[in-house]
Symmetry: C2
Amino acid sequence: MKKTLILETAHLLLSKHITKDDIVVDATMGNGYDTLYLASLAKKVYAFDIQKQALIETKKKLDEQNIKHVELILDTHEKINQYVSNYKGVVFNLGYLPNADKSITTTKESTLNAINQILPNLKTNGFILLVIYIGHEQGKIESKAIQDYIKTLDPTLYKIAKIELPYQNNQPPYIIFIQKEKDEG
Amino acid sequence: MKKTLILETAHLLLSKHITKDDIVVDATMGNGYDTLYLASLAKKVYAFDIQKQALIETKKKLDEQNIKHVELILDTHEKINQYVSNYKGVVFNLGYLPNADKSITTTKESTLNAINQILPNLKTNGFILLVIYIGHEQGKIESKAIQDYIKTLDPTLYKIAKIELPYQNNQPPYIIFIQKEKDEG
């Protein structure tokens, strides 16, 4: 698969922030491409999806490459903290699973609820990376809600970057990268 | 000097795209910080400024570190092509020179004129990086003009990314990174 520009950039960012000592979470397993990429960087990956199809697809890809340090979890990313602790970062690739039921997408409620639970658990330099698509209606709503939410975050605790590309598009997909400046604990 | 977040990010991007075989241009020498950073990456750096004070400051910094592969040019960046050919990339850090005459800033005319001359000369993977500040009036005008301009660029020839941070600011500085997809010649 040729990566889109936005995914290429997201993966570049991840490669800068994840080491072989890190536990990371793929909050939106989908077709498993991010899960596989995270597995190439981290000590351990936990990947979540509410659709069984996502786990089947991803397991197939992992088995082909004989990758063992990934745990696939059939549950919502709103429950990440019940399954994983001590994660370095969490990745959200928002929207619906390609080639599956398009009525099942991430929603602003589940996404914001998940982010809200993850942030206090991040250590210094821990991060959340979100890839956001605004080409579909639910995506626009989710995008707006996320933008409103992150503007409320304390800039002394979190540094946030927004990356849009390709910029000539009318509704370019974008990345929000939130990094914890210092541990709250 | 502690780098600002936006400069740190700009320098990270530059480090990804410049090698020791490359000739690069600092279109806005200013206090010379970018010039010095470019010198650490490239084979040769040409740096432009219309203010003599910029050349004095930058020469001092270069001499302190005994850096010889940088040429300082007292002229507008609208004339880059008269001095340099075969550059890999050009960096613009827009706005006024800190601690100098604040009435002398880059303007949308000079900036767009320069960009317009540089783009056709870029080879495949060549780039222009712009750091844009919108906290002052002239900056807002320049920013708007640049945004309007880049949206007209052919997406099959140029890929463009926009990076804003820190995002919680009301008027965050941002980076525009334009990369040539393929040579026109």
